[in-house]
Symmetry: C2
Subunit: 203 residues, 2 copies
C-alpha cells in the first residue's frame, strides 16, 4: 500500500469518493457541494477537471453510472454511485494521505533557492511586501475561521484552516527572521559579497 501508483491521482478524485460516501450524486451536485463546503479552498477545483476525474473514476471501477434522470426540461444528469472498490479506495487513499508526508514544491521554496540572483536591498523590500500580504492573508483566514465557529461549525471541520494558520504563522516568523539576518548591521549578509556581486544593478 506504500504508494502503489493509484489509478486516479488527482485529489479531486478523493473528494468525489468521499462525497459519494454519503449518497449518490451527479457531477454538478458534487461541484456545488465542493464549492459550498469550502473544500475548494483545500483541493484544487476546476469545473472541467471534475468531469475528467469523474470519468477516470468510472473507468477505474470506483464509481458507476447509476441512473440518468431528467428533471423537467433540464439537461440530462448522470447520477453516480460508489462501488465497493471505490469505498475501499477512498479509505486507503485518505489513510495514506494522513500518514505519509509528501515532498512538495511550494513556490516560495523555489524563490528562496534562487534569491541570491537579486540584490539584497531589493530582496528586503520584496520580503517586507510579502510580510504585508501574509499578515493580510492570516487575518482573513482567521476571520473566516471565527465566523464559522460563530455559526456552530465544529472545529473538527475547520482543522484544515487551523493548519493553514499555523503554517502562515511559521512563514511570517521565518520571513521576519530572514529580513533581520540580511539587514543586521554587524553580521548581516546584505553587506559584503552578496551586495558586491550586484554592484550598481538596482533598477
Amino acid at each position: 500500500m506504500v504508494t502503489t501508483k493509484r489509478k486516479v491521482g488527482n485529489l479531486l478524485g478523493l473528494a468525489v469518493l468521499s462525497y459519494l460516501l454519503m449518497r449518490p450524486m451527479h457531477p454538478y451536485e458534487l461541484s456545488k457541494a465542493l464549492r459550498d463546503n469550502g473544500d475548494a479552498r483545500s483541493i484544487k477545483f476546476n469545473h472541467g477537471s471534475l468531469y475528467m476525474v469523474v470519468g477516470q473514476l468510472a473507468k477505474a471501477g470506483f464509481i458507476t453510472e447509476q441512473e440518468t434522470s431528467r428533471d423537467g426540461a433540464r439537461p440530462e444528469r448522470t447520477v453516480y454511485a460508489l462501488t465497493e472498490a471505490g469505498r475501499a479506495e477512498q479509505r486507503d487513499w485518505l489513510r495514506e494521505l494522513v500518514e505519509l508526508p509528501e515532498h512538495e514544491y511550494p513556490h516560495f521554496v523555489a524563490a528562496l533557492s534562487l534569491v541570491s540572483a537579486l540584490p539584497p536591498d531589493e530582496v528586503v523590500d520584496l520580503l517586507n511586501r510579502r510580510l504585508d500580504r501574509l499578515t493580510g492573508d492570516r487575518r482573513s483566514t482567521q476571520d473566516n475561521y471565527d465566523e464559522a465557529v460563530g455559526n456552530d461549525v465544529h472545529p473538527l471541520f475547520l482543522v484544515e484552516e487551523e493548519y493553514r494558520l499555523a503554517m502562515l504563522d511559521a512563514e511570517i516568523a521565518f520571513v521576519r527572521r530572514f529580513i533581520e539576518r540580511i539587514t543586521d548591521p554587524v553580521a548581516g549578509w546584505g553587506a559584503g559579497l552578496w551586495a558586491a556581486f550586484h554592484e550598481g544593478e538596482r533598477s
Copy 2:
C-alpha cells in the same frame, strides 16, 4: 506586473533562466547543474520536462539557440543563451515569486479537510505514524544542512532548507496538538459524535 499570465509557467523555466544568467549552456548541462546544486529538491525536476521548458522559453523569445557544437563524437549539443527579454523575465518573475504568496494545495490540507471520514482512533494512529516520518524528515534535512555548512556553503544558499525546517517544525507541533485535542480525556473530540458516527467500522 501583478500576475499577467506568464508565457512560460513552469518554475523549471525560472531556474533555467537563472542559470543562463551565468553563462550559455546546453540542456544537459543545465540538467546536471540543477541536479548537482540540489535545486532539484526545491523545484520539481524531470528530464523530459526540462527539454519541454527549454523549447517553450525559446519559442517565447527568452532564450536563443546560440550554437550547435559537437564535442568529439558525442551527440550534438545545442547551446542556449539568454536574450534581453529573458533577462527581464527572470528578474520580474523572481521578484513576483518573492513578493506574492501563492495559494497552494498541499496534500495534507486535503487530508485534513476530509479526515472526519475516518474513525477517530484510526486517525490518531495515522497521525502518530506521520509524526514519526516528520521527525525523520526533519532529522535528515538538518543533517544535510549541517553537512553543507561544514563544507563552508554560505547560509544564504541554504535558506530554502531553513525554511523547510521551519515548516516541518510547525507541522510537527500542529500534529501533536491535533492528537491531543482528539484524545483529551475530558473534552476530546474523539469521543462523542465523531466516534459514534463510525460505530463498529474499524477494519
